[in-house]
């Protein structure tokens, strides 16, 4: 274990060789996420662990960096998120805020960080507005976004023959946006949407909507909702025998932690898009093993991976800029290509979007799984240049 750490540190040192060690730069990183609610497993303490691993792997101590990591629970509420980040920056001298799942909370932090001129490394949030209309020169959106999920799942499903879709959509801005984006993709790929129904948010009973989906003759039922709503829809779909009837469920915002909670018996056959799977290659497996040792056996989610990679890249940029001035560091982060064992090679675009490959997965049947956390088979790899919204279509004012 030690040896492996040392090797990674050595590798990273060699990357930055030639630059003089920065003189005692104190850095405060605030990991702000959901620690008690629906996204506590997706992000939560795991993101703090991932940030700490990034600091260690970077070799902060050896380079004379003094990195402090703070964490707090925003309870998925934008007002709490905005309060905490304001207070962190005003009173605790936090330089970087990382993670922040739940789009509403992330958009709130986005504004605070822009106003106070600090740096925001988003991993957990989904909204593609963060690099679109509401993009900020202080924000990097690392892991995924709604556009990438809608396109990944929508396009690939149509290509595999799922041409007729029915949407079950959470009736609020987020759900509607997800349905709209996916519909556009489906139509462009030659599929059609035979119907859709908006369910109250948050919902408990989805049977009525599932029944409508069942009788619609659709091949794919798209779940344009999130969290508990998606989990309940999938559970009740199993109860009404929907997947046995030959229809496929496509989760537009569902993560490996949800699959873990649902169990393979219920979740089998579900198709979804993610940016990271722990069992992808040796690099991800090595990271996952170290991570699991610290998290009580839980494997890292793509959000954890994104926190690790974005914090690592940030520290490299500070090292290269020899300063933590947000403007200089952001310029360096966008100028330097990123490289880490989890996402491979990537880059940050002018709008703050980090681009890398995305993957379309199908959840295994219980008999296909070799053990705990062996959940996905890869259906397709979506190359980086197609995985994210083209730079000129987001409406980001930073793009000229």
């Amino acid at each position: 274990m030690r040896l492996k750490n040392a090797l990674i540190i050595a590798a990273l040192l060699s990357l930055t060789a030639g630059t003089a060690a920065a003189e005692d730069i104190p850095i405060k990183i605030g990991v702000l996420n959901d620690r008690s609610g629906v996204y506590a497993d997706l992000a939560g303490e795991g993101s703090v662990i991932a940030a700490k691993m990034a600091v260690e792997d970077f070799g902060a101590d050896a380079k004379g960096f003094k990195v402090d990591i703070l964490s707090a629970d925003h309870q998925n509420k934008p007002d709490i998120a905005s309060n905490i980040s304001r207070q962190w920056i005003d009173q605790d001298g936090v330089d970087v805020i990382a993670d922040v799942p739940t789009s509403s909370a992330a958009l709130a932090v986005n504004e605070v960080v822009r106003e106070k001129n600090k740096i925001f490394l988003v991993s957990g949030a989904a909204s593609s507005d963060l690099t679109g209309a509401k993009c900020s020169p202080n924000t990097v959106h690392w892991t995924y976004d709604t556009w990438a999920l809608a396109h990944g799942t929508g396009k690939a499903m149509v290509e595999q023959g799922g041409k007729k879709w029915f949407f079950i959509t959470a009736d609020y801005a987020f759900g509607q946006a997800l349905e709209r984006d996916t519909t556009a993709v489906i139509k462009a790929a030659g599929g059609e949407v035979v119907g859709s129904v908006k369910h109250p948010f948050p919902g408990q009973d989805f049977s009525s909507f599932l029944l409508q989906a069942q009788s619609s003759g659709a091949q794919v039922i798209g779940l344009a909702n999130a969290g508990g709503d998606t989990i309940n829809s999938i559970k009740q779909a199993a109860e009404f025998g929907i997947t046995q009837g030959g229809q496929k469920l496509a989760g537009l915002l569902i993560f490996i932690s949800d699959v873990h909670a649902l169990g393979l018996q219920t979740a089998q056959g579900l198709v979804l898009t993610e940016a990271f799977y722990w069992d992808k290659d040796d690099g991800t497996r090595a990271f996952a093993k170290r991570f699991a040792e610290r998290s009580g056996g839980k494997m890292p989610t793509m959000v954890h991976a994104g926190v690790y990679a974005s914090v690592l890249h940030y520290l490299k940029a500070v090292d290269a800029a020899k300063s933590k001035d947000p403007k200089l560091v952001m310029a360096k982060m966008k100028e330097m290509p990123s490289e880490d064992p989890l996402f491979g090679k990537g880059k940050i675009r002018p709008d703050g979007r980090h681009v890398h490959d995305m993957y379309l997965f199908e959840v295994k049947k219980p008999e296909e799984s070799k053990g705990p956390w062996d959940y996905y088979k890869t259906l397709a790899t979506i190359p980086a240049d197609q995985a994210f919204r083209p730079l000129d279509q987001g409406g980001c004012p930073l793009v000229k």
């Binding site: 620690r35 008690s36 707090a72 629970d73 309870q75 509420k77 934008p78 007002d79 709490i80 905005s82 309060n83 905490i84 304001r86 207070q87 005003d90 009173q91 739940t102 789009s103 509403s104 958009l107 709130a108 986005n110 504004e111 909204s127 509401k134 009736d171 609020y172 801005a173 987020f174 109250p200 948010f201």
Partner: protein, 325 residues
């Protein structure tokens, strides 16, 4: 004779004696605290306390002086914050007009709620206001202008009267302090006016008030609308302070919070709601990292208040000092 929830402290003789000298001292003390606060604590925290103190005072006007327990005040607080945020952000109105528009909308919602809810008393009144507020919550969730889950973000603080830049926390603090003091003194005036005496008469014995020829329902409706408007004023101001309006403000837990603040401080006392807001805001701030324990502690405080000290902190203090506070 059952003791009423709004029955404050056995101090009737003192309470009726006009505006007594001790209260002047109370106001000066409160004004001093409000003036000095930004030098002692984080100004944004102080502003939050003032917004909630005004909200709780407005709620107390209804519970403490008419005996009506509303479980739906989040609707006024939350909708006003949406309206004021939208007016400031999308229409580019100056903050004072934005806040005013939020207040007016809350007053109108209050009129509709009030007209429906005052048909019943007691727990029915509470359940009806709760259900109506839940309707407003779903409305806020679905209607596009509120931004659903995202809320309305990046609300500009703007320039007061188009002149004074509110970006500075200290300047904004004093603007909020003026709004709070104005609302607070207005409530005090209402309670101690002839109108306020009729309200108390209704609280003590509604049947007798009716037989004395008072149009009880009209009085109740007026005070309900006033309470809604002042709650709206608090919510609208909060939206400008935090540059954000979100579902939290319109969710029913917010209605529970304002009840708790009033209860801790002391129902039917003058500064009780202020003290309650200070305690609850401070508590949620310090305990934020404990997640769901905040809910448990809030629940325990509720239970303790109801079982052990129904007059709240200020109520107990006031009985001890034999002075209305």
């Amino acid at each position: 004779m059952q003791s009423s929830l709004s029955d404050p402290v056995p101090l009737e003789s003192l309470r009726e004696a006009g505006i007594p000298a001790p209260q002047r001292g109370l106001f000066i003390g409160l004004a001093a605290v409000v003036l000095l606060a930004p030098f002692l604590v984080y100004p944004i925290f102080a502003m939050k306390v003032l917004c909630f103190a005004l909200f709780a005072s407005a709620f107390n006007l209804l519970l403490g002086y008419v005996g009506l327990l509303s479980f739906g005040h989040a609707a006024f607080f939350g909708m006003a914050s949406y309206i004021s945020a939208h007016a400031a952000r999308v229409w580019g109105w100056t903050p004072e007009i934005a806040i005013l528009s939020g207040t007016v909308v809350s007053a109108l919602i209050g009129l509709v709620f009030g007209a429906l809810a005052i048909r019943r008393q007691g727990i029915y009144f509470a359940m009806i206001t709760l259900a109506l507020a839940q309707m407003v919550y779903f409305f806020a969730l679905q209607i596009p202008f509120t931004g659903g889950e995202d809320g309305i973000q990046a609300v500009p603080r703007g320039r007061l009267f188009g002149v004074i830049d509110l970006a500075n926390d200290t300047i904004l603090y004093y603007v909020v302090a003026v709004i709070f003091m104005a609302g607070f003194l207005f409530i005090y005036r209402v309670v101690h006016s002839p109108f306020g005496h009729v309200l108390k008469a209704i609280r003590e014995n509604e049947t007798r008030a009716i037989s004395l020829g008072y149009a009880v329902n009209r009085y109740k409706l007026v005070v309900f609308v006033l309470s809604a408007a002042l709650s709206g004023l608090a919510g609208a101001t909060k939206a400008i302070v935090f540059q954000l309006a979100s579902l939290t403000d319109v969710h029913w837990t917010m209605s529970g919070d304002v009840i708790l603040m009033t209860l801790i401080g002391g129902v039917g006392t003058i500064i009780g709601p202020f003290v309650g807001a200070l305690i609850l805001v401070g508590m949620t701030n310090d305990l934020a990292s404990f997640g769901a324990w905040v809910t448990v502690i809030e629940g325990l405080v509720f239970v303790a208040c109801v079982l052990l000290f129904r007059h709240g902190i200020v109520g107990v203090l006031s009985a001890w000092l034999k002075r209305p506070l």
